[in-house]
Amino acid sequence: MTRELINRFLIYLLIAVCTLWLIIPFTMAVLWSLVDPAEPWTADKLMPPVVSFYRWHNMWVNSSLKEALLNSYTLAPSAAILTLLLAIPTSFALGRISFPGREVAKVIALLPLVVPPFVTAIFFTSLLFSLGLHAWRFGAILFAHSVLFLPYAIRIMTVSFEQVRQDHIDAARDLSASTIARWRVAYLPALKPGILASLLIVFIQSIEEFAIAFIVGSPNFVTIPTLLFGSLGQDFVRPNAAVLSLILVVPNVILMLFLEKLLRSANPSMSSGKGMA
């Protein structure tokens, strides 16, 4: 009973803290994005006096938002597909073949997560300059994103490959299935959740990535985070920044929730429709 009381008290406390932590800041952002320029929201007013979608419309028509959305949402799926294609062979080796140094290789695959992102961004730009490729911004950022987010895809796909059941592969082989057929019936069902999770996580990471897009892309190539960063600097207009923040955060929250659901259901026995032995 005492434990229950403590838990209830802590939950109420947590709700209060989270109101400060999450609800108030996000409500403020939504309200600021709806402030109509005809009547400013001054400190003496609790709520914006006039609300409208003017800021949203204005940002859509008069800023680089369209370009940033196009760039971000072209870059992210391209990076997700390219990363997955690059990760599959390595993950197969790490997940299905036993070789000396395999554990070391798994650790080395995490290297991009250890080097500070701005160091990678700046000296990658230096490399692009020396190769004369600095004008090729989209391709350069796509390449950098694909390599930097490889650790996520390799990690997820390695686990997926490890979970492919050998008896399924053997059964397919015994039934004289070709290599392609074996992949289709034995590998693919177990790999499917991992493939989707890898695509989604790299997509989200790429949409959110700031350092590479900022250093390699500036000043001509804008993504949503670089546009938001710009709007938080010397050109700070609170309602415009609120619009950009919501555009950046809302789709990602939905995708992240979907990802979590996907990762929870990433059970090979379920996806292959067979019980575990």
């Binding site: 229950e4 838990n7 947590l14 989270c18 108030i24 800041p25 403020m28 952002a29 400190a43 690059l86 990760a87 599959i88 062979p89 390595t90 197969f92 080796a93 073949i97 070789f99 000396p100 290789a105 080395i108 695959a109 290297l111 991009p112 250890v114 080097v115 500070p116 992102p117 701005f118 160091v119 990678t120 700046i122 000296f123 990658f124 730009t125 230096s126 490399l127 300059f129 020396s130 950098a144 390599v147 490889l150 650790p151 959110e208 700031f210 350092a211 250093i215 985070p225 938001l228 960063f229 938080l232 600097g233 609170r238 920044a241 609120a242 923040s245 950046l248 990602n252 929250v253 929730l257």
Partner: protein, 285 residues
């Protein structure tokens, strides 16, 4: 293994692992050689330690190193210190624990720049915090809270963003401790503090070290929180590096970049070592 098998493994590793090693290796190599005057993008390359000597004697460099360490260490410690009790609380499921966990981990879904915007919105001169403090009568007038000189804003942002991550790692570790072990400690008369110090902390030390190190590396190399909410009279190492690079001083940027990598590496090793030293009862294992 036969040579054919080796060849197959190497070919399979090349597109993934090979690219990682090539890109990160090249980036680190360029940073190091550029810091010694080589790989000059605008003129003749000349091997020298002159850039190191020049940057190291600048006061801005020393301040940036100290400031980045301050942010890195405190962010890691605050995040872990907040996450530990929460992880212990959520160890056993109870009514509403899933919802509580989800709420606590919500900041993981929010981009750092959005978090910075939300924060400066709340602490703005005429923001909700200032108005609330005046309304309850604690402050007579609005105060300037953004870009405070002690970087409390940056520390709050770092903790806000990183605590859920520490919680994620620590919850898994704490839930892995079996009830039998804790019951045995309780039967032997250990109180809450003794159970934490002698059972929970040693058994979760690896998770705590991982959380400390990952948060430290991210916070020590912070750029965006510092630029948006940090003190205007100080620069973080990442900010200083970008400043040099924007001025075309690639070699000086390289010195700061290499220093940043060293600080991240040495700092995280020391932090992990200190955590083990303190939590394992000052015994080395």
């Amino acid at each position: 293994m036969t040579w054919r098998r080796w060849l197959q493994v190497i070919l399979l590793l090349t597109p993934g692992l090979g690219l990682i090693v090539a890109l990160i290796g090249t980036v680190v190599y360029i940073a190091i050689v550029q810091s010694f005057g080589l790989y000059n993008l605008t003129g003749e390359s000349l091997l020298s330690a002159e850039h190191w000597a020049g940057v190291l004697e600048r006061r801005a460099y020393g301040r940036a190193v100290r400031y980045s360490l301050y942010i890195g260490i405190l962010s890691a410690l605050f995040s872990v210190a907040l996450a530990y009790p929460l992880a212990l609380w959520l160890r056993k499921p109870f009514t509403g624990s899933v919802a509580v966990g989800a709420i606590l981990k919500a900041p993981l879904l929010v981009h750092g720049l959005v978090a910075a915007f939300l924060f400066i919105n709340v602490i703005a001169y005429h923001g909700v915090l200032n108005q609330f403090m005046q309304w309850i009568g604690l402050w007579e007038g609005p105060r300037r809270l953004q870009n405070d000189s002690n970087a409390i804003g940056v520390l709050i942002l770092q903790t806000w963003k990183n605590m859920p991550f520490a919680l994620l790692i620590l919850t898994g570790a704490v839930q892995g401790i079996s009830d039998d072990v804790l019951d045995a400690a309780r039967d032997l008369g250990a109180g809450s503090m003794a159970r934490f110090r002698k059972v929970i902390a040693p058994l979760t030390i690896s998770a705590m070290q991982a959380a400390l190190v990952i948060i430290f590396i991210g916070a020590v190399a912070d750029f965006s929180f510092q630029v948006i909410a940090g003190p205007t009279n100080r620069q973080s190492m990442a900010q200083l590096m970008v400043f040099y690079k924007d001025g075309g001083r690639w070699h000086d940027a390289a010195v700061v970049g290499v220093s940043l990598m060293v600080v991240a590496l040495v700092g995280s090793a020391l932090l992990a070592f200190a955590a083990r030293f303190i939590l394992s009862g000052r015994r080395f294992r």
